[in-house]
């Protein structure tokens, strides 16, 4: 009997020992081996590691008016499980009415089986308030940053836009994306079951650094005037596109830049792809007769001709075995270089270029900044096309002299005319006047790229271009109380076969005012105007309207009696 009891005791001991060992082993397993994993899980339940989005910088015009800013807007979400079945129809109808959407589609989404879903993102504030006031069950709001452009489509191409991922695209938003976006921060904090951060407990915060604020050289008043004039010209000409550039010739600051067709930067998802192209910097065209001013400036600067130098105009010029005609083939007889500009004579431009020579002409084309990007601080600039001199045929000296066989961007042409207007210095156009960050304000210093022509040459050209408006072909650009200087241009459009499209043109005007102390340089380009060769009339009308507004707006004292 005792033996049996002892045996039982031993068995019992063994069982207990095994159980104890098993419990001890399991304890070691969870406490020692799996400890880090369990600890991490426990911490995860109460601790959140949150990325703090950096506030994107504000973009303002030179007067301080807001052009682009980021504001958190409320996005509407639903937790379907919290909406009672008998309430879903009412909720769907209420939301559909306020959001202007189909209630059945909303109901279908609520019944789709999702635990949590966005109904509508970044609502207008009034709509969000109206929905909030209804106290609908299972409906809530979450703030999401939205880039807003208070001036709608104004300066859309200059500003660019921000895509859904928060990346700046095109324009200033694209070119200055790194500065504007700032640096995200991080917040690690313990939370209670209601997801509220606890004051006590672990808290590690690395604050977000907001993006730099930018102040542009752009003036909203002049920009609005430029866009109005461009719109009127395009409507009148039923033209598919065009652009206007307004520069301050004294330092290359861009005061206005308009491009059509345009888009709404706040609704770029529905925009036509072609409308995103900024025709002022991302598109080039043959400048036509606006080029003659640069050819003559080069020749006068090289002293191979003077304004009074004359030749006998027979209506055409022969160069490289090719005959290059004046517009409409008219002959003018004895003609001075000033009259070449006044009458926009192709044969006269060929005469001047022949005196200058291919090498010099090519050098000056490059010196005026054609054929290479201006270096403007905007995304997507193209260089235009100027073939290397080695690839020129003899006839190219003649065609280049009156703006055929090479392409420029409107901005390049404006910068070149600004060099004539300011006394001969080519400035790099720029759009950002200053940026402000935590360290203070950083102003952009204007960059004088090079001296292209002497001050005397520039003054002579200003006088000749003034005469072109006062006595010549650009009379429609004359201003009532101000002197103005400028030149028209009509260019053919190259086709895919290497020839030119028949009866399709690009009309343009490049000018500045007041003529002797210029404050604005303006280039206006109209693509395929319906009035064909007379499209320059609309370009000149746009110049007149814009220049008068800008001069009055800037309170420039008139230099002529009306």
């Amino acid at each position: 009997m005792e033996r049996v009891s002892a045996a039982r005791l031993r068995v019992l001991f063994l069982i207990l020992a095994l159980l104890s060992t098993s419990v001890a082993g399991k304890t070691v397993y969870w406490q020692a081996l799996k400890r880090p994993e369990l600890l991490a899980q426990a911490i995860d339940q109460v601790r959140t590691d949150q990325v703090l989005a950096a506030q994107r910088g504000v973009i303002r015009d030179r007067t301080g008016a807001i052009l682009a800013t980021t504001v958190p807007l409320r996005s509407l979400y639903a937790i379907p499980a919290q909406i009672p079945e008998n309430e879903r129809a009412r909720v769907s109808v209420a939301l559909g009415t306020l959001l202007g959407r189909d209630p059945l589609a909303i109901r279908a989404r609520l019944d789709g089986g999702a635990e949590w879903l966005f109904i509508h993102r970044r609502l207008p504030e009034e709509t969000a308030r109206a929905i909030e006031d209804m106290h609908l069950p299972g409906i809530g709001f979450q703030a999401e940053p939205k880039r807003l452009y208070p001036n709608d489509t104004t300066a859309a191409h200059v500003l660019g836009f921000v895509n859904d991922d928060g990346d700046g695209q095109y324009g200033v938003e694209g070119a200055y994306d790194t500065l504007l976006r700032g640096t995200p921060g991080r917040l690690m904090v313990e939370r209670d079951p209601a997801n509220r951060a606890l004051a006590i407990g672990v808290r590690e915060a690395q604050p977000a650094i907001r993006g730099s604020d930018l102040t542009l050289t752009l003036d909203l008043g002049i920009q609005a005037a430029a866009e109005r004039e461009l719109r009127l010209a395009l409507e009148k000409e039923k033209a598919p596109g065009g652009s206007i550039v307004v520069l301050d010739p004294r330092d290359g600051a861009i005061l206005a830049m308009a491009s059509a067709p345009t888009f709404d930067p706040a609704g770029v998802g529905v925009a036509d792809l072609e409308s995103l192209r900024d025709r002022a910097v991302s598109w080039s065209y043959e400048p036509g007769s606006t080029m003659k001013a640069l050819t003559i400036a080069a020749a006068i600067d090289q002293r191979v001709v003077a304004p009074t130098t004359s030749y006998n105009d027979v209506g055409y010029a022969i160069i490289g075995g090719r005959r290059l005609n004046n517009a409409l083939g008219r002959a003018y007889g004895p003609t001075t270089v000033t009259q070449v500009l006044e009458r926009s004579l192709n044969a006269g431009a060929v005469f001047v270029a022949s005196k200058l020579g291919a090498q010099k002409l090519y050098d000056y084309i490059g010196a005026f900044g054609l054929g290479r990007p201006t270096g403007v601080d905007l995304a997507g600039e193209v260089a235009g096309q100027v073939r290397p001199l080695a690839e020129w045929y003899p006839v190219d000296v003649g065609t280049a002299a009156f703006g055929q066989g090479l392409t420029v961007t409107p901005l390049q042409l404006a910068a070149a005319y600004a060099a004539i207007a300011n006394g001969g210095t080519l400035y790099r156009p720029y759009i950002v006047a200053s940026r402000r960050d935590a360290e203070g304000e950083h102003r952009t210093a204007p960059v004088a790229v090079r001296r292209v022509i002497g001050p005397e040459t520039a003054a002579t050209l200003r006088t000749m271009l003034t005469s072109t408006i006062d006595n010549g072909i650009a009379a429609n650009a004359r201003l009532s109380s101000f002197s103005a200087a400028g030149k028209t241009g009509t260019a053919q459009i190259p086709d895919a076969a290497g020839s030119y499209e028949s009866d399709e043109y690009i009309s343009s005007f490049a000018g500045f005012a007041p003529a002797q102390d210029p404050r604005f340089v303006t280039v206006i380009v109209i693509e395929r105007p319906q009035s064909r060769l007379l499209g320059t009339l609309s370009a000149m009308a746009a110049f007149r309207g814009l220049a008068l507004d800008a001069l009055r707006y800037e309170r420039v004292q008139p230099d002529r009696r009306p």
């Binding site: 008016a65 504001v71 504030e125 001036n151 006590i200 909203l220 609005a224 109005r228 109380s481």
Partner: protein, 146 residues
């Protein structure tokens, strides 16, 4: 203490015997009374001392427990206050953020209303026309007249 009391007791008994010889019964009686008194007061003192010690211990323990309780209460109230303060801080931060958001929206609204394109559209809607001629006075001429 106990040993001293026993010693004192045997000496009293010897003195009592000598007193009988002398015939001083009163003294004997006096001695007996004194003995009775002393034998009665000593346990009381002892009891008193013990009671006092127990009271003191109890008081100390009670005070310690009370102090601990008060400290715990203070700690809890501090923690609760801190926690409630944290929630209040969060509420105020959320309120501040909302006010900032409203201010930003108001700025955008202001910029929208100030937009030249919008003003021009309003001008058109109101039927206003452009000034045909703008008269400018030359400051130089006025200066020369002075």
């Amino acid at each position: 203490m106990i040993a001293a009391t026993l010693h004192f007791g045997s000496r009293s008994r010897r003195e009592s015997a000598r007193g009988a010889v002398r015939g001083v019964r009163r003294d004997q009686a006096r001695g007996a009374t004194a003995l009775h008194r002393s034998s009665q007061s000593r346990p009381r003192a002892r009891a008193l001392a013990r009671t006092s010690w127990e009271l003191r211990s109890f008081a100390f323990a009670g005070a310690f427990i009370l102090a601990s309780f008060l400290l715990a209460l203070l700690y809890l109230s501090q923690i609760t206050g801190l926690s409630a303060g944290g929630y209040e801080m969060q509420r105020l931060q959320a309120e501040r953020d909302e006010l900032r958001r409203q201010a930003a929206l108001a700025d955008v609204q202001l910029a929208r209303l100030d937009s030249p394109a919008r003003i021009e559209a309003q001008v058109k809607r109101l039927g206003l026309v452009r000034v045909a001629r703008v008269f400018v006075l030359s400051a130089d001429a006025l200066q020369a007249k002075k």
